[in-house]
């Protein structure tokens, strides 16, 4: 199947067009303007979902790679956009979450909806999509910045006191991480003379060991702090509970996973041998991340703070997949990578659903506190919300037949095959603690006596708020029950991501370029 490579620009172009159109529609804050922006956001997130599914069908199902040389400049000289199974899976998940979130936001948002919420959301989508299809290090940096910029504004939209403080911390620490990334980019270019990922992969083996260790370490710091890995996660619990619940939901589902994607993309491509040599380090980071996240979740006392800490703990599982990527089992080499990708799929869906449900609970009751006397009795007050929360929570904890069970099983099996008993033990303990934490949320927040509270002035639109959560929960359950094709796609994505030669062949960077005289392209 020969596909026009220009489709690769679509995940960047369509959200940008949507954002531009909704900015055009905003002259002043009126109800009609908000309605126009809603329609545009829904339309363009649906278009984006269609494009993403098309790309998924080409790459993960058709087992192909797609490359677009922007402006027809040959590979190391121009901007390269690239998609394989891994990119397409992330694109599709992002698109699905974005569609659900747009409808959830319509149901729950307060006056902050009028402050250009939807254009910002579309800018965020553009940045995330761009990071997933970027084919060189510098554009990865640029799209990281685009999505961060949109996320800064979304986080502090409305300017409530808590938001301003959370926003400052988030901006500061993320900017530092980005700057480390930029410094790495500069060093890479200075030493290797290229930034194109395929060109780098072809050249980096010739570089001295000390340099490769330096680059790998700097990238681990940069991506690790974006992903919320162990020593660098502290910006996340300091800020994620402050914005509107809809914003928290999309942040928890998407943003840390962009860092994880970058790790999954860069490490097998540029440092495959370090993936083996650093396995103890990566697994230790994974274990500490899991443990710190889950213990942090026990110590805090509002729904969204608990769930934010679980984001960190879950990121640990994904990095565990990366740590086990180099070791195989009887089925295939790189089974750990496939299990890690499958875990990302599960996590993005379930986490967003949980954060949406937790946010809806907070908005319905007017408080997020788990102490007695605040939340409680939501089973009676809003049964549908309780049902979706229950299903999502138990999927996160890994109870069969949910997607959480299958994805944890995959990781566990790889760990046992690789004879890393201790990481298997840690992941089991963390699973148990996650289950405990979910039971705590359920008992304090949903079951229990109905508190005598007067509901807040503006309750969320129940139908619009709960339907997207139900869709996500249904997807999670169907991944758990019909896991065959999903796991197959993850395996294709993992084998494509681990195949350096294939990547280099697909992008085909030339060391020589045909002479371009200044006349040919006036």
């Amino acid at each position: 199947m020969d596909v026009n490579a220009n489709w690769l620009a679509a995940p960047i172009a369509f959200p940008l067009i949507g954002a531009a159109l909704s900015l055009l529609a905003s002259t002043r804050v009126t109800r009609r303007q908000t309605r126009t922006q809603r329609i545009i956001a829904a339309l363009f997130s649906l278009i984006n979902l269609g494009v993403a599914i098309f790309l998924l069908s080409v790459t993960a199902i058709g087992e192909q790679r797609m490359t677009l040389q922007v402006g027809l400049w040959p590979a190391p000289f121009g901007i390269t956009l690239f998609a394989d199974g891994l990119s397409a899976i992330m694109l599709t998940l992002t698109a699905l979450l974005m569609v659900c979130l747009v409808f959830y936001a319509m149901g729950t948002l307060d006056e902050r909806e009028g402050l250009n919420f939807y254009p910002l959301l579309l800018f965020l989508l553009m940045g995330v999509n761009g990071a997933f299809v970027a084919g060189d290090l510098f554009n990865l940096y640029v799209f990281f910045e685009v999505l961060l910029m949109a996320s800064f504004v979304l986080l502090s939209l409305g300017g409530r006191p808590g938001q301003v403080n959370g926003g400052l911390r988030y901006v500061l620490l993320n900017l530092l991480a980005s700057t480390v990334f930029l410094a790495t980019t500069g060093v890479v270019y200075g030493v290797l003379g290229t930034l194109n990922l395929a060109h780098l992969a072809a050249r980096i083996d010739a570089a001295p060991d000390s340099l490769r260790v330096l680059l790998a370490g700097m990238l681990l710091v940069a991506y690790g702090s974006k992903a919320g890995l162990f020593p660098l996660f502290f910006w996340l619990p300091a800020s994620y509970h402050t914005p509107h619940p809809a914003v928290t939901a999309i942040f928890g589902g998407l943003l840390t996973k962009v860092g994880i994607y970058a790790l999954f993309r860069i490490y097998p491509l540029l440092f495959p041998d370090l993936l083996v040599a650093w396995q103890p380090l990566i697994l230790t980071i994974a274990a500490l991340t899991m443990l710190v996240g889950v213990f942090g979740a026990m110590a805090v006392n509002t729904i969204r703070r608990v769930l934010s800490f679980h984001v960190i703990s879950q990121v640990g599982y994904m990095v565990m997949g990366l740590g086990l990527a180099a070791s195989g089992n009887q089925l295939m080499v790189g089974f750990g990578m496939a299990a890690g990708i499958f875990y990302v799929v599960h996590h993005m869906i379930v986490k967003t659903a949980l954060l949406m449900a937790g946010g809806a609970a907070e908005l319905t009751m007017g408080t997020g506190r788990l102490e007695t006397g605040y939340l409680g009795g939501l089973v009676k007050r809003s049964p549908a919300l309780a049902v979706v929360f229950f299903l999502a929570a138990f999927s996160l904890a890994g109870i069969p037949p949910s997607s959480g069970f299958i994805s944890k099983l995959g990781l566990l099996q790889t760990a046992l095959d690789a004879q890393q008993w201790w990481i298997a033990a840690v992941s089991l303990v963390v699973s148990l603690l996650t289950l405990m934490s979910m039971v705590r949320l359920w008992q304090k927040g949903f079951a229990g006596p109905m508190e005598d509270v007067v509901p807040p002035p503006r309750r969320p639109n129940q139908r619009l708020a709960i339907a997207p959560i139900a869709v996500l929960v249904a997807v999670s359950l169907s991944i758990g029950i019909f896991s065959g094709p999903f796991f197959q796609w993850s395996r294709v994505a993992a084998s494509q991501a681990l195949d350096r030669a294939g990547y280099i062949r697909a992008v085909n960077p030339t060391d020589e370029i045909a002479p371009i005289s200044l006349e040919a392209n006036p």
Binding site: L16, L21, S22
Partner: protein
């Protein structure tokens, strides 16, 4: 706070800055300049207006057009990128020659279009940023 001398001076300087911006925008492809610089120059002109006549004056004058201008700029930039899809690919540069009668031929290319888009976005963004920051910090909840 409106300033008398600046208010006199800006009548001369503002048109000059606008013309300068247009010059930068047009020569920008081959010489120093370009959409970004031109946008900053326009923002400087508005900054002078803010200093000379106060932020409320400027806000009333152009406040509601800023966001649509950003949108329009983005649309123009994307349009220039998509325009070349039949010619070769996304963001490929294409040029047209428009005879203007006599010996004059206007050569215009999609990079110029892209630069115009950048110009609109940057000028509107920086102006609105300056307007927001020049709002006095009285504790008025938005």
């Amino acid at each position: 706070m409106p300033e008398l001398y600046l208010a006199l001076l800006d009548r001369i300087l503002t048109p000059i800055l606008f013309v300068l911006a247009v010059v930068f925008l047009i020569v920008g492809h081959n010489e120093p300049g370009g959409g970004f610089i031109a946008g900053l120059v326009v923002a400087t002109a508005f900054l002078m207006q803010i200093l000379a006549r106060g932020d409320d004056f400027v806000r009333k004058l152009i406040g509601i057009y800023l966001q649509p201008t950003m949108g329009a700029g983005l649309i123009i930039a994307i349009f220039s990128a998509v325009l070349s899809l039949p010619e070769g690919g996304f963001l490929y540069g294409v040029w047209w020659k428009i005879p203007l009668g006599g010996d004059f031929v206007l050569e215009i290319g999609s990079p110029t279009l892209f630069d115009i888009g950048v110009f609109l976005v940057v000028s509107a963004f920086v102006t609105s940023y300056l307007l927001e920051l020049s709002r006095p910090a009285t504790g008025k909840r938005r």
